[in-house]
Symmetry: C2
Subunit: 168 residues, 2 copies
Amino acid sequence: MGSPLPRDPIADAQRNWERHGWGEVAAPMAAITAIMRTQQILLARIEGVLKPFGLTFARYELLALLSFARSGALPMNKASALLQVHPTSVTNAVDRLEKAALVVRSPHPTDGRTTLIELTAEGRTLAKRATAALNSEVFGQSGFGDDDVEHLIRVLGDFRKAAGDFAD
Amino acid sequence: MGSPLPRDPIADAQRNWERHGWGEVAAPMAAITAIMRTQQILLARIEGVLKPFGLTFARYELLALLSFARSGALPMNKASALLQVHPTSVTNAVDRLEKAALVVRSPHPTDGRTTLIELTAEGRTLAKRATAALNSEVFGQSGFGDDDVEHLIRVLGDFRKAAGDFAD
DNA sequence: GCAATATACTAGGACATCCAAGGGTTTGGA
DNA sequence: TCCAAACCCTTGGATGTCCTAGTATATTGC
């Protein structure tokens, strides 16, 4: 999008916050802004790796989730809950994955309200290949040190739990 | 969107990664996924606080940026660079802010290609009020401990720098 | 057993982000 | 001087996310 800035814009924002008398919350503001920006960078990397496979991150996440399900199938509402996105987002992703013949919708055997998403053979193969690519090109070169990774997992895990993501 | 899950879905994903022989990258995968999810939670909180002001986070960021500029005005390309978003995203935000009379577009005095975004009096007032709300309702209650905030700022700062965000 | 409530998925709409292309303005080298 | 290359902003299109209904199916309670 652009060349590197001369100075860190988030550090500048933090200084601005302090200068305006909001020093009390300047650091958390900076941390939160940094999380937003980091997510943006990571998402761009991931999408770049997935593009050759004709996948987006949202669709990949669904494929990966299905590939770990015993039967290779999950109800849409389960997928929505596990991926922690709105049900309509799952509908959207399934529509596109189904057009690409990577999944199929099938009726739930006992509950007429529920629709099952099933991985096709192609879907399973593509999920494997895409995962290998992400592992080697993104997760394997995250740029985070081992200690930092552990720290992030712990701190963000606590945050997500406090936010009500899971009971554990 | 839903009630808490019985177990942490990201920890489950990490276990799945390990079970499939990708233990080497399971932890970074979990950390990255946690960052994505945390961003989603934080964005939802922020948008919730800004909604009463008729603002979204993208528009708020632009207003805040302008409010810190000496003259209360910035060229669009500068705003795009500092906010680290695509120029078309700035165009979009300015269109809406201008409709709301919070900013105005004006021609650059010496460069005919450039458009300046200028804060209106209303825009400046709203930015102040929205910032106060975010400070007290989000940044002041982030849920991150002081040490964790410092750690996040450092680790994510290093990451952003390595990603080419800034030279410093 | 049947009506009221809850649950599951989808359709339509509002926003944001990015990319690709197009039209206008500046700059720089031949 | 002048034209090509670089730069700036906007338009149009593709995706994703969420929200608000609306339809269909299950469950519950009387």
